[in-house]
Amino acid sequence: MKTAELPRWQAFVQRHFAVLFIAACLVVFVAVVELFASVLVQRVVTEALIRIVIVVGIYVFTGNSGIISFGSVTFMAVAAYATGWQTCCAMLKPITMSGLPSILRDHTYPVYVSAATSVGLAALLAFITGLILMRLSGLAASISTLAILFILNVTYSNWETVTMGTASMVGLPTYITPWLALAAALLAVLCAWIFQNSARGLLLRASRADEVAAAACGVSLYWSRLIAFTLSGAIMGLAGVLSAHFLGTVSINSYFLNLTFLALAMLVVGGMKSLSGAVVGVIVVSTIIDVFRRIEVGIPVGDVTFSLPPGTQELVLAGVMIIILMFRKDGLMGGQEFRLPVRFLRQHRRSLEAKDT
């Protein structure tokens, strides 16, 4: 009886090792940070966890379909503004954002209600834009996602009475703790994992490997891509809600090309063909950014302070990305997921066989 149960458990771990491993590492990491690190470090870690949600959100579409999306950050902005409208500054809202419909202008909603509706809105918008964009072939679709990003940026930057233009919306409740960010990151990772192992996800990954062959086998690219794009939009929406309530402010220009670049750089460095790559990319790039940010501020070495000119961090990041693309195109993870070490499995099997005989 016991021997019959063990392989099933073992098979489960073996099959879902990547997601279990990522979850375990993140939980341990956050616990350690929560117990021992300063508030400042906790903020850095929370920020990194939010970035995991962002990058996993982009990965769900880009990683599975092979189409680079420059527009995913759009859905983040939509959700961030949506949650801002619902939860922000009850007193100021009627004055600063007079154009809001009264249901939003004169009422304030609980944070979890607003989070859910905002994510829903982002997903809906992704679905609608996806209906149009997914008709296009790879490169044209990539470029067109950029159009979505610009449409939203131009609209929100100029819609003074509703979005306050390019000014920041301030005074959102800041309720994001490291644990909450961790929960969101795990949720995003889990969604991505379930999708990529579902029938649809596998079809989409097949089309990434060879679009023509997949189509010849009867795989409908359109629906698979649309579902991935919508799920990606929902996860981006979650990231938008998180970042809005982490910072307490929302401004349209923080959801534009710089964030898009940062997220894509993380995805490329880790490797955009695997979920493990997406997560590893966030951790590696976040570390690089933090280290260089500190060096730019200045590090005392003996009597002199060693510092690099501001902007070095960006140059290093772009440089790392180009080098990765040149020499390790599939990123640090090489397009692979984390796997249970083979040695461990073999040993385990041997001991089981010994027990059977």
């Binding site: 131009v154 670049f261 501001p310 140059l315 180009i322 693309l325």
Partner: protein, 304 residues
Amino acid sequence: MQNLVQILVDAVALGSLYALVALAIGLVFGVMRLINFAQADYITIGAFALVVPTASVSPPLLLGALPLAFMVGGVVTVVVLLALATERLAFRPMRGSDPATLLISSFAVSYFLQNLVMMIHSGRPKSVGIGNSLSAAIEIGGIRVPGTQLLTMGVTSVMLVAMVFFLKKTPMGIQMRAAAENFEMARLMGVKANRVIAAAFAISGIMAAAVSLLLVVQTGTLDVRMGLMPVIFAFFATVIGGMGSLPGAALGGFIVGFVIVALQAFLPPDLRAFRDAFVFMLVIGFLLFRPKGLIVNRAARERV
């Protein structure tokens, strides 16, 4: 009526500028399936080469202080060298990668160059007085045409004609068209890949230099993002025209220019701020009906 002619002149001037940028992008896309984001930074760096690197908002002139011919020559040299350098250092090692990888690498190169400019020149917009004498309007048959627009139309039409001549009549131009049609086959026929790709980059550099000078003369300002919007519009011009088709790229550039000017003229005043959003929506709407663009190129199709 006069008003309409005025709008038409504006549209042609803007359209020809975008056609120039779109052609540069289309040329490079043709030979190596790379959509080059860094084209924006070629334009920006060309303009910034006019001034001495300082943090000042009205910096002393560097190349801009030279006599006209040397100034133009200097800017063209700088941008062409830059374009060749990015090709050699960043894009050549990635040749043969899939288009998505190339696209993302050009995004990285662009980010690198943009931050380099910011580091050297500081991120603030600067004013530079070159070609002030051109801003005076010239009256032709009751229509006032600003000198800068005449210059733009003159320069772009000369360059477009030169481009057609180059592509149709010179050996290198013919090789480039052959490479755009079918790169592997062209190589088998003796077209040298390195040379033809480097030539495409050099030409895109010359065009970027022309665009950056025209933009500086038109606006009198330098900004680290000055190349961004023309290049974004040019991307859509190439998509509208049909990816991989050079006449399509030029045509798309004119269409985008016309649409922008028309929207600017005919949108109600309180919607004018949203002009670019409408442009992008029209682009997406257009793609809904013709996903492959106006001129469908054989080479644009997925190669089996």
